[in-house]
Amino acid sequence: MPGPSISAAELTRHGSRALMLGIAGIVAVLALTAVLLFLNLPDANAFNARVERVFVENADLTTGAEIKLLEILAQSGTAFSETLVSYRIVIFVLLIFATGLLVTSLFMVVTLVVLNRRLATVEKQGLQVSALLIDRATNTVGINDMEFRLTPAAVETLAVLAEARLDDDMLTGAAIESVISGRAEAECDEAAGATRIKRLRDSLGNQLISEVLVKNVARQGYMLAIDARVIDLR
């Protein structure tokens, strides 16, 4: 079943691209905010500079008492600007938290969307193969979590098909027979390959159906392994 598994992979790829863009956007916006925050808050010397300007621009601020007052003004401004610095750090930490939370929630949303779509595909598909393991030594085939025992000939046929799939090749019946028997393809019969496929389908299909649809409970009998609510008899 190559079609659905490819579309699932595509979903994941689209999702991760959206996630990357979203995270980059969030980080960019909040980094810009942080930069503006640090640029726009007055620094510790802003108050001193202002007091200094007042002192220079007013010619009659010359007596000792007036100058003392101006100095006190500058000192209180400096004290205030120190509290501003601590505010700035608090705001910056909050910004970092906000970034983390936004990134996490975006990740969650994208994951949910991707999972929902994949779930919908799986529900329609019935069986989606996400792992196929062929073990020639023990003649077993693992499909997802299910394990099936096949005849050596059927395992060989499945292995040939799997190798062809990895190379994106199509095999005719004669080609399958030629690969398995080792003879030249011209000498092989199309029907021989078709028979191998038929045996593989019979053997594997039988076990698959018994696993996912018609369950055989030992010494009790047979039962459909599906939810009773989905059955609609007309």
């Binding site: 001193n48 007091v51 200094e52 002192f55 220079v56 010619a59 601020l61 010359t62 007596t63 000792g64 100058i67 101006l70 100095e71 500058a74 000192q75 400096t78």
Partner: protein, 97 residues
């Protein structure tokens, strides 16, 4: 002849004396940083620095800097009377030695 010489010498001496007494005074504002401290002060300038605020600033800045202050600006040039009147307010008075 000697009389004329004496007169000339007197004139030259007078001219030198006026030159020497052609110094002036200015008041200025200065600051120190961290913490900010402000100062209003008086400074005696040589004749060469009496012409303009720029010249006075060039002369006064290093003098004031020597005592640890940064010159903000020269306020105005003062006569001897104004100098005496304002010296009570001044935080520092720089006289030429």
């Amino acid at each position: 002849m000697r009389h004329i010489f004496a007169q000339g010498a007197f004139l030259i001496a007078m001219a030198l004396a006026t030159q020497a007494s052609a110094q002036c005074y200015a008041d200025y504002k200065a600051k120190q940083d961290n913490p900010l401290r402000l100062q209003y002060g008086l400074i005696e300038l040589p004749a060469s620095a009496c012409g303009s605020v720029d010249a006075a600033t060039r002369y006064a800045a290093p003098v004031i800097a020597r005592s640890g202050w940064t010159l903000l600006q020269i306020e105005s040039f003062l006569t001897q009377d104004q100098f005496d009147a304002r010296s009570a307010n001044a935080g520092a008075i720089h006289l030429r030695r």
